[in-house]
């Protein structure tokens, strides 16, 4: 599982934007400060992952659940994040559901289309010349 060092860094542009958004207009951020914040963020991911994994393991689970992450934030004294994260999680679940429903709808209408296509092109062998196809009825 070898990652190159760059892969463990978060993109500078996004980090810069996040910093800028959080500070009042006109505040300058030194390059050193920016790098430090980016580094801190990467370490935070590792730290939170480790804490979340501990919660999961304590509950005899191998996969980290969103709830594990929430508990980990409490354990590590970052409770202030929990509330906004609950919102984020709700939004995420909603978006997932919408996507699922949209896909299901797409699949339903597509299979309906396919079915109709199949029926209309189901021309009996002898009649291959006739342009307008007739729906084949099951004559016994």
């Amino acid at each position: 599982m070898a990652e190159r060092v760059e892969d463990l860094n978060l993109p500078n542009a996004v980090v810069s934007r996040l910093i800028k958004d959080s500070l009042p207009d006109g505040v300058n951020v030194s390059k050193e400060a920016r790098l430090a914040l980016a580094k801190a963020a990467s370490i935070f991911v590792l730290f939170l992952t480790s804490a979340s994994n501990n919660v999961a393991t304590k509950n005899n689970r191998k996969t980290i659940s969103a709830q594990d992450v929430m508990l980990a934030l409490q354990d590590t004294d970052f409770e202030g994040f929990i509330e906004p994260l609950r919102e984020c999680l709700d939004n995420f679940k909603k978006a997932q559901k919408e996507k699922k429903d949209a896909n299901a709808e797409k699949r339903k209408s597509k299979s309906k289309e396919d079915e109709e296509k199949r029926q209309s092109t189901n021309v009996p062998e002898g009649d291959s010349d006739s342009a307008s196809a007739v729906v084949v009825s099951d004559d016994e």
Binding site: M1, E3, D7, L8, N9, L10, P11, V14, V15, R17, L18, I19, D21, S22, L23, G26, V27, N28, V29, S30, E32, A33, A36, L37, K39, A40, A41, I43, F44, V45, L46, F47, L48, T49, S50, S52, N53, K62, T63, I64, S65, A66, D68, V69, M70, L73, D77, F78, G80, F81, P84, L85, E87, C88, L89, N91, F92, K93, A95, Q96
Partner: protein
């Protein structure tokens, strides 16, 4: 103030890579991934805001960030990563105060650790780029040493 939009700004794939580099982490479901990503965004913004309070409010410097890290309890995991920096002059003064005067003679003392975990810089007049490169090298060396020490300590405790 950033809005809690549905769209995450940090790339989820990158966050996933970092998470998976942690030992014992198997799979990370999408919703956990989203939560960690958003938590990291909040973390960056929160840390930046806190750091700004340390400065004059118009410019955010490294030292402002380092100050917050050293001061806040829940940022202890960053103490080795974002240490406070001091100049050689300040370092020598501290050493003198502590009565450790014989060790320091030249700036080659950058290998030595000082108690506050501060890093050394060349005299402030020197070009910053050169200084930063040296520091990075120095930092890595020191961190490795410290990690070894920590491991030894842990073993001893066990």
């Amino acid at each position: 103030m950033s809005s809690n939009t549905k769209e995450l700004q940090l790339p989820i794939s990158r966050v996933k890579t970092i998470m998976k580099s942690s030992p014992d982490v198997d799979s990370v479901p999408q919703d956990s991934l989203a939560v960690v990503t958003r938590a990291t965004e909040l973390f960056i913004q929160n840390l930046a805001k806190e750091a700004l309070k340390n400065g004059d409010g118009s410019k955010l410097e490294y030292s402002d960030v380092a100050k917050v890290v050293q001061a806040k309890g829940n940022l202890f995991f960053l103490r080795e990563i974002i240490p406070r920096k001091i100049t050689v002059r300040e370092y020598k003064e501290i050493m003198k105060r502590e009565g450790i005067t014989d060790i320091i003679s030249s700036s080659e003392s950058s290998e030595e650790e000082d108690e506050e975990g501060g890093e050394e810089e060349e005299e402030e007049d020197e070009a910053e780029e050169g200084v930063e490169e040296e520091e990075d090298g120095g930092e890595e060396e020191e961190e490795d040493d410290e990690d070894d020490d920590e491991e030894e300590e842990e073993d001893a405790q066990r």
